[in-house]
């Protein structure tokens, strides 16, 4: 019980963590990329704008420088010095690095500094390398040539010089002021003015500023993302985990404390709603579980009671009966714990067999109570020497008088007389039983209405002959009306077919054969009615029965009982019992000093033999049997037994063999048709 919730708990916590880790891992780079992109774009825009404004300044500075150059007398060194100063002032005025004027020879790729001014950011190295008259070879570029060719708008050029990156604006200077004639004159070869801005400082400044902005922005982003994650953790993850752990430990908590602690409900967000919903759920589950518990307890009690009821009901039914002459077996399977079917059989004192099968309408408890009542009544009537019709009439009158529920019962009652091989039966609305003889014969006569509804109903008796080896098969409609998974009935036809198969084989196994087929048929379908079967099979009579007894008078009971069960007439039984009694009592009285063995063998057939064997004193009872006319009836009283024995026996022999007295009595077995029970 315990490991399961724990496992669940672990996986849940792990899952929760991974979600927030995922959020943090995904969010941070996305936000960072976004922020850096914005920074990059704004850096570029700002840089562009700055360069643009510098370009204006450079253009203005360059055009000023052109004017200064135009009006300067280049041949005058002093003037050149003046021009240098002016250019220095221009640099400072427009905050640029260099302003110079070049004499360019594009063909020779030579340029010469005529004058130059330095701004505040000009390096010492530049000052030393750029001065009036300094000539550079091989550095004349396209932009300079463009200006040289007359582009007055200013030609901008980014150049990498030995003094760093620069932005330069070139302009042509195409005329000069002729101080002598007081007028401008065109130069034969134009000069080129350059206004140069060293980008090193600017870029550095920019980068410096933007680096700080970037650092601050990234830090801010991280802080925001972190705060967001923490906020999620405390406001979402924690409540979720709390609810989740409550849920997973619900059963264990409940078992440990007999109740589950509620979640705290505070605030007004979704989690408050969830917690309060959880509490409602806990209450509902709790009461639900309590209901189930009490239902279970009730169910257990009920089940136990039903089991008792079932065993009581089973106890009302007879166990299988097997004698030398016949075999009775029965099977009952209620659809519920208890059922409304019943069967009964008993061996009556006169050797007949009482058989009953019945089916109470409905099933379950009500039917089973009715069944108990019915079986008790039938038990009673069985011994009352009534014919089956009479039993049904009495039974019907009794139960219809006490039947407030209006239930009814179908019943088949039969009495089998093994001596006459006759089955007398009567039917109260029950399915026709079958006799399994050379063919399967349904017993369709003497069919009346079901019992229990109308008092005063009359029933008839029908008689059918049976012979040894035949069987009588009775069943309730739970058999032929059993359904399969396709909702089809088992049916009379299939039942009859199975029974006809049983004819050829051992009839005592009929129930198992039918049951096997029925189970196969109804496989996968619910049993909807009680199933009951009963089979009486008549055995071929045994040729002989042997009884092993001790020589005590009380053992005579066993002899009596055995003879009584033989399939012979009542008179024959009494004759045999009389012979057996007299011989047995004599053996008990005289053969042994202390009780010894007596073996009695009964052989059956047209002649019935009673063979007594004892290991007592040798004595031949057949000699000197007195003539009864010479018996002193007035005074004597002994010796009558021996006389009776030889009077009633048709033949007798005595032998002493293997240390045994062997006395054999033989009786002719004449079945008299005029015997005293004509009950049918």
């Amino acid at each position: 019980m315990n490991p399961k919730p724990d496992k669940g708990k672990k996986t849940k916590v792990k899952k929760t963590r991974s979600i927030f880790l995922k959020i943090a891992l995904i969010m941070t780079p996305i936000v960072l990329v976004l922020v850096l992109s914005v920074l990059f774009i704004s850096y570029n825009i700002t840089h562009e704008n700055t360069i643009k404004s510098y370009k204006n300044q450079l253009r203005i500075a360059a055009s000023n420088a052109v004017q200064y150059a135009e009006s300067a007398d280049m041949d005058n060194l002093g003037v050149l010095q003046q021009l240098n100063d002016d250019y220095n002032a221009l640099c400072k005025l427009y905050d640029i690095s260099y302003v110079y004027v070049l004499d360019i020879d594009p063909d020779e790729n030579i340029e010469t500094y005529i004058a130059i001014g330095f701004g505040s950011d000009a390096t010492q190295a530049a000052k030393e390398n750029r001065f009036t008259g300094f000539t550079v070879e091989g550095f004349v570029n396209d932009k300079e040539i463009e200006a040289f060719n007359g582009n007055k708008d200013g030609v901008f050029s980014y150049e990498k010089t030995e003094f760093g990156d620069s932005l330069i604006c070139y302009m042509p200077c195409q005329r000069f002021y002729d101080f002598n004639n007081k007028e401008y004159r065109k130069l034969d070869k134009p000069l080129v003015v350059g206004a140069e801005l060293s980008l090193n400082a600017i870029t550095k400044g920019f980068q410096h500023t933007f680096r700080w902005i970037a650092i601050l922005t990234i830090a801010l982003t991280l802080v925001i993302v972190g705060t967001f994650v923490l906020l999620l953790y405390f406001r979402v993850s924690k409540p979720v985990r709390k609810i989740s752990s409550k849920m997973s430990s619900f059963v264990t908590d409940r078992e440990a404390h007999h109740s589950v602690e509620k979640l705290e409900v505070k605030g007004n967000d979704e989690f408050t709603l969830m917690a309060s919903s959880f509490n409602v759920m806990v209450d509902e589950i709790d009461s639900y579980i309590n209901d189930i518990d009490s239902l279970n307890r009730e169910k257990h009690t009920q089940e136990a009671e039903m089991n008792i009821a079932r065993s009581i009901q089973t106890g009302l039914l007879q166990p299988d009966l097997d004698t030398d002459a016949y075999h009775i077996s029965a099977y009952m399977l209620p659809a519920k714990e208890v059922g409304g079917d019943l069967y009964d059989y008993r061996l009556l004192d006169d050797g007949r067999i009482f058989i009953a099968i019945a089916d109470v309408s409905g099933k379950g408890i009500s039917a089973s109570l009715f069944m108990a009542h019915a079986i008790t009544l039938l038990h009673q009537y069985a011994v009352m020497d009534y014919s089956p019709a009479h039993i049904l009439e009495t039974f019907n009158n009794t139960i219809s008088a006490q039947n407030p529920g209006g239930m009814f019962i179908t019943a088949f009652i039969a009495l089998y007389d093994p001596m006459k091989h006759e089955l007398v039966y009567s039917n109260a609305g029950h399915n026709f039983p079958y006799i399994l003889s050379d063919r399967v014969i349904p017993l369709e006569d003497a069919h009346g209405v079901a019992a229990g509804l109308f008092s005063g109903e009359t029933y008839e008796n029908a008689v059918v002959k049976m012979k040894t080896g035949d069987a009588l098969f009775l069943y309730t409609d739970g058999v032929n009306e059993a359904k399969n998974a396709a909702n089809e009935f088992y049916g009379d036809e299939r039942l009859e077919k199975m029974l006809s198969l049983c004819i050829a084989s051992d009839k005592t196994d009929t129930i198992n054969t039918v049951l096997g087929d029925l189970k196969e048929f109804s496989e996968g379908a619910e049993q909807n009615d009680d199933i009951t079967m009963l089979c009486l099979s008549l055995k071929e009579p045994p040729s002989q029965i042997t009884l092993k007894l001790t020589s005590e008078v009380a053992q005579f009971k066993k002899i009596k009982k055995t003879i009584y069960r033989l399939p012979i007439s009542e008179d024959m039984k009494k004759t045999l019992i009389l012979g057996a009694e007299e011989v047995f009592v004599n053996i008990c009285s005289y053969a042994y000093d202390t009780p010894g063995e007596v073996e009695i063998t009964i052989t059956l057939g047209d002649t019935i033999g009673l063979i007594f064997a004892d290991k007592g004193k040798p004595f031949d009872p057949t000699v000197d049997v007195q003539d009864i006319d010479e018996y002193d009836h007035e005074n004597r009283i002994g010796g009558l037994g021996r006389f009776l024995i030889f009077s009633i026996a048709d033949e007798y022999t005595y032998a002493y063999r293997d240390n045994k007295n062997i006395l054999s009595l033989y009786f002719n077995n004449e079945v008299k048709q005029n015997d005293d029970h004509k009950r049918a």
């Binding site: 008078v553 009389l578 007299e582 002994g638 037994g641």
Partner: protein, 100 residues
């Protein structure tokens, strides 16, 4: 086996029901021991289904006891199979047996 006795004046009627054999004979002997001074003893065998020599002996003993001092004895309503035993043993001639 059940035995019922009815004393009516000087007449004692003994009704016997069941089997009178070697197992029930001692019970019969004990129950009919006391004839309660009756001058006439009637033994009713309507309910007797079976009798053996043991039962016969007790019946004869009862007869002798009843007639000892000049009393009378009557055995009545003896069934076919039981009657055979009396006939076979010749006691049908000695005992006063009536059909009903």
């Amino acid at each position: 086996m059940t035995i019922t006795k009815e004393l009516n004046g000087n007449t004692l009627t003994i009704f016997v029901e069941g089997w009178l054999d070697t197992l029930t004979a001692p019970q019969f002997r004990q129950e009919v021991q006391d004839l309660q001074g009756a001058e006439k003893v009637i033994l009713d065998f309507e309910g007797v289904d079976y009798i053996s020599s043991a039962g016969l002996r007790e019946t004869v003993a009862l007869y002798r006891e009843a007639v000892k001092d000049g009393g009378s004895f009557e055995l009545r309503r003896v069934n076919g199979k039981v009657m055979d035993v009396f006939t076979l043993t010749g006691f049908d001639k000695k005992l006063n047996i009536s059909a009903d």
